[in-house]
């Protein structure tokens, strides 16, 4: 464990605190993890969006039941669950066309994003070729 801060002498302070712990019969905590200061990896928008469209293309599938409210919120959850359980057949009927539409949106996006990837690769190839040509001309 490290302590940070310009106001403290880390080793002295840590030593003093550890001594107090030892006096109380306490040792190091084996479960303590070191903190992370690393950044998160980027998320590729094309593949993320495609995956999200696939996940949500079927509007007849319910989302997990959740509420941020206490009290009445729990009762509303119960009512939603009862509605889902008893009326799924009507939900399917009402959303059949939406399901088809969403499927087309997903497929169109898949085709368009694939095309974007192909074009990016093509642009990169052309740029590399052009740079190489310029370098040869110079010299």
């Amino acid at each position: 464990m490290r302590l940070l801060g310009d106001a403290i002498k880390q080793s002295d302070l840590l030593q003093r605190l550890e001594e107090r712990l030892r006096a109380r019969g306490l040792g190091p905590d084996p479960e303590a993890r070191a903190s992370s200061v690393g950044i998160e990896p980027p998320v590729d928008p094309l593949s993320f969006n495609l995956a999200a469209l696939e996940e949500h293309a079927d509007p007849t599938r319910s989302l997990p039941l959740q509420t941020h409210r206490g009290g009445v919120g729990r009762a509303v959850l119960l009512a939603k669950w009862a509605f889902r359980t008893t009326c799924q057949v009507f939900i399917n009927e009402a959303l059949a066309r939406q399901r088809l539409f969403n499927g087309h949106v997903r497929d169109s996006y898949a085709q368009l994003s694939a095309e974007v990837l192909r074009l990016r690769a093509e642009v990169e190839r052309l740029q590399a070729a052009s740079t190489k040509k310029r370098a040869v001309r110079r010299g």
Partner: protein, 743 residues
Amino acid sequence: MAVHQLVPSLLPGDAMGQAAIHFQLLLRRLGHFGELYAEELAPGFSSLVKPARELRPAKDDLVLYHHGISSPLSGALLHLRCRRGIIYHNITPARFYEGTPLWESLMSGRAQLTAMAPFMDLSIGVSRFNSEELRSTGHRNVHTVPLFVEPRRFGADRADPRMLAKLSDPAPALLCVGRVVPHKRVEDVLSLHAELLRLRPTARLWIVGSYAPGNAYVRKVFRLAKRLANVEFFGRMSHAQLVAAYRAASILISMSEHEGFGLPLLEAMASELPVLAYAAAAVPETLGGGGIGFTEKRYALLAELVDELHRNPKLREAVHRTQTRRLSQLSADAAARRLEQALATPDRPRKTLRRRAGKPRVAIVVQRFGEVIGGAEAHARSIARRLSRDFQITVLTTCAKDHLTWTNEFAPGKTRIDGIPVIRFPTERARTMRSFNRLSRQLFQRSNDRLHEEHWVAEQGPAAPALLEYLSTEAKNYEGFIFFTYLYSTTVWGCPLVADRAIVVPTAHDEAPLRFDLYTDVFEHARVLFCNTPEEAQLVRRRFAKHAPIRVVGVGVDRATADPARFRRKYGIDRPYLMYVGRMEAGKGIPELVKAHRRLLRAEKEAPLLVLAGSSAAKIEGPGVRYLGVISDGDKADGLAGALAAVIPSRYESLSLLALEAFAQRTPILANAESDVLCGQVTRSGAGASYEDFESYQGGIRKIAAERGPMARRALSYARQHTWPRVISAYRQEMRKIVEDQR
């Protein structure tokens, strides 16, 4: 070029909205006009923020979009035909929210961050940590502009006294500020508290921040908290309550596993509260050597550290010193310098002043101008007329005639008044007095954050964004600016755009808005302040520690030829009278004056008549009280010359032109003693009396009646000290210094 800001939501207590308000301040100080646009805004805030769908930037404008969690605005931004920028506040890693609907919003926000990269002209991280993430997602032209707090807003005097009294106790108190959500790891704070209770059974833990009672995580945290003593969840607090919590606590604790900046750490530093924080994500950078960071959550050891920090004054003092240093490194000025660098692009040279031959160009900025009733407005007109001999004056004002509603009554565009060019800009919204007064009552009773004060200014008006945009874009064509009246948006939002070239005539008096910290933008940043009286100057010195240089300048008064007999004949007045001329408003103390005078009439048969003149929504009449309506300048001079005394009932005066005009007619004044300025005029002139209740009102009239002759001589002698040549010479001198500095 305008720099607009686009935020997903602008709600009180929302960190991103608060950041947008702070960036607005920086942008103004850098001379950029811009408006705020939001997808979701709090009810009643439409005066301050416009709906995102109304954003129509010009090709040259820059739109800065604040990005956090997924928002449809990120897509809309890509289709705006203007320069685009992002201010990145970071996104909580989705792993903390697996299995919840938030997971997808967090992932989507990250996908949007990458998707925006090729379309951005400028990318700003509010920490180096965030900037690194921007670069890793393909953003170029990345700059770091850290968030900041305004330390004075966290002073001991800003704490809610009731909350402070409730919380004050010698036992150690841990404070955790932040929403009760999984990545903030409130359960870890509870674990630390459990360990601390073993050492100090009276220790307390306060958790300040919003929570959703039905949320599974919140219910888990509540269950854990129930097993421990002295844990209190306060939910969201007002600014004043939050300052009380910071001021009453012993230590701020943060166990958060992810912070893109960690504003509460700075707020605690500004509140002189030691900070103990888990060194995750941007936290070590924000601490920057201040406070104490820790890299492992060893609760027993941390409890010992809390105990040490609570009991060891030397350690607390050392920590405090490092925090003060860190706070000064993360100041608004430092952030403004960083933002200036970020906005400077090679193809956009800095705005430079256009030099012209002939008289220097000076703009006078005032909320209303022309045929309007108002002391400051009349003052501005007198100065404009007299300065036009030495400077090329242009008046920038609104189309409003009525300062209560700001309704557009004059035509927009260019016109000439007294031979001076005037440019009028339309107001965008009328003021609703009922809601404005309600808001004022709420905010005047407590200390506030900048968002609420900016909201109050927006409600107060006049809302004339075109005037502010003109100031920003045309500033290069003027060598100096004179702003009248500190109170209105034209000054508080206009002055920072050109502060180094601005003389401000604040016309300040001791009123509630003067206590708003937002007015430091005027009083501490203007080039020079021209106060009307020594009392006003003293008030400004007391209120603003780092005020701009002050000169007491005031106004001049011309002695008009007067014929009291003509006035008496015209209005059929055949007995001694007291006279008031001005706006008949409650704020001017008219109801109290009429009440006191009626009581005087009941007590004394020979009491003088009370003559009132000026614009009024209601007719004020009754035995012993005459209301004349609006009267001409000639009638005013005649009336004042014949009056026993001019009565000035207002509590809030920065000068009182009426007093000077009365003195010029050899007439003493009877003034409200609650106004330091009026009392000062009475004392310095020796020509009048002041009153604070009925007895002193009655006594004042008797005193004036008894000493009317000597007082008349002293009044005239005092008026002769207030001449226009002396006043104009001060303006000329200061404005020439401003002009010289630029040449």
